[in-house]
């Protein structure tokens, strides 16, 4: 397809060609074709939708949102445009606006598991775990193997302490959608939660091999390389048990020191406090230095 061809193509043919290019992730070519097509068919909702989609995948959210506004002005009930708008609101941290979009869509399509997955995922990010669980459950009632709803439900179960062995949703996700990126991400989270960082890194590396252009996956593998670096060994308790370890260490040092100071030799409690503060500084500063090095 050359750029000049688009002028003589009818809308349907043009849409077909753009879909084919998008399927192959040839966004540059698709973008040129859509731009030319919009000169000939400026009000084509399909072409406007593709234009918004390309802007969105290229992280030009403002341009995408402006195009979605044009689509929804012509066709207020356009499903794809509303779904994309909800996702853009969420990515732009306008959580309440995203919630309004999902609620409006679910009122129109109350049996759509995709929408329950999106809304549940939003609630998960807003730390409203109970609602996320109920939304995922409702989605699974309509589609028991829906990947996004299983992902949200498995995450909720993981948050409430159901790990790999006894997390039924995660088992179902692994069984029904082993190829799905969300499955891999959830497996990584579950392994990390169990302190199996090296195994989690291997899964993350596999995911990166399947999607080498994903900046999120690159960042995830990098994070695991940092966590498993030998200089982080001293921080193992904090990495393994997270904030619980941090709380326990604070309590042990502060209360232990208060109780033991009278029995300790002169100067020992001062040395312990200095050592502890040094450890705290190490735990705060070293990971960010290492991030720049690795």
């Amino acid at each position: 397809v050359t750029d000049g061809d688009s002028a003589i193509l009818d809308e349907r043919t043009l849409v077909g060609r753009v879909e084919m290019l998008l399927d192959r992730r040839r966004y540059d070519q698709a973008e040129r074709l859509v731009a030319d097509g919009l000169h000939t068919h400026p009000d084509s909702v399909r072409l406007l939708y593709f234009s918004a989609f390309i802007d969105w995948v290229r992280d030009r959210n403002q341009a995408a949102q402006s195009t979605l506004g044009r689509i929804l002005a012509q066709d207020p009930g356009h499903y794809g445009a509303q779904v994309m708008l909800g996702q853009i609101h969420r990515e732009s941290n306008r959580l309440a606006d995203a919630e309004q979009v999902w609620i409006a869509l679910l009122r129109d399509f109350p049996e759509d598991a995709d929408l329950y997955g999106h809304y549940g995922s939003l609630m998960l990010g807003a730390l409203n775990i109970d609602k996320a669980r109920r939304l995922a459950g409702e989605g699974l009632r309509h589609d028991p193997e829906h990947a996004h709803c299983l992902f949200v439900a498995a995450a909720c179960d993981l948050i409430d302490g159901r790990q790999l062995g006894d997390n039924e949703r995660l088992a179902e996700l692994l069984r029904a959608h082993p190829e799905h990126i969300r499955t891999g991400l959830m497996l990584v989270a579950a392994l990390e939660d169990r302190g199996q960082d090296r195994q989690a890194m291997r899964v993350a590396q596999q995911l990166l091999r399947s999607q080498p252009d994903s900046p999120e996956l690159v960042d995830m593998v990098r994070q695991f390389r940092l966590k498993t670096h030998w200089t982080m060994l001293l921080l193992y308790p904090l990495q393994r048990w997270g904030w619980t370890a941090s709380v326990a260490m604070w309590a042990a040092v502060v209360f232990g020191l208060t109780a033991l100071t009278p029995q300790l030799p002169k100067g020992a409690s001062g040395a312990i406090v200095l050592g502890w503060l040094g450890y705290c500084l190490y735990s705060w500063i070293w990971p960010s230095i290492l991030r720049r090095i690795v």
Partner: protein, 157 residues
């Protein structure tokens, strides 16, 4: 796993306020403990209230926050009343009051952590970073130290 149907109207009731922007991530336990350590019990209650507010649970957590305030006022009333026998505990007044105040603040920090533990776990699993605590922690420390000083002055009047 079979799912029972949910009340769809209840499920589709908005739960985020229009002002909600950014993530609902809350200040980390380290921020809680440092605020408690340097700012005392009122400062800790302040930062715990900010966390509750970020989670949209201020009303649900208000009972715990009020209990923390009452506990601190009770502590100040008992410990700082004129003639309290500090030497009975083998401590000077200044050192004893400071140590106990800090211990109370750290215990309250532990309680605040436990109150929001599920959300800390969620942040770890969902991959949300805690917000920068500096402005909130310094503000709470200043207000907390001021409130504690005011309470001590009132008790000693």
């Amino acid at each position: 796993v079979a799912e029972p149907p949910h009340d769809i109207d209840e499920l589709l009731r908005p739960s985020l306020s229009p002002e909600t922007t950014g993530s609902a991530a809350i200040y980390s336990p380290n921020a809680l403990f440092l605020t408690a350590f340097f700012g005392g019990p009122f400062a800790l209650i302040g930062i715990a209230a900010l966390n509750a507010s970020r989670l949209g649970r201020l009303r649900q957590d208000s009972g715990y926050l009020i209990a923390g305030i009452l506990l601190t006022i009770g502590f100040v009333t008992i410990m700082y009343q004129p003639g309290f026998e500090w030497h009975m505990a083998g401590l000077s007044e200044a050192a004893g009051a400071r140590t106990l105040s800090r211990a109370l603040a750290l215990l309250l920090a532990l309680a605040a952590y436990l109150l929001h533990r599920r959300f800390y776990r969620s942040m770890a699993i969902v991959g949300l970073d805690a917000p920068s605590p500096w402005a909130a922690a310094i503000g709470c420390c200043l207000l907390g130290i001021g409130a504690l000083a005011a309470a001590i002055i009132l008790v000693r009047l």
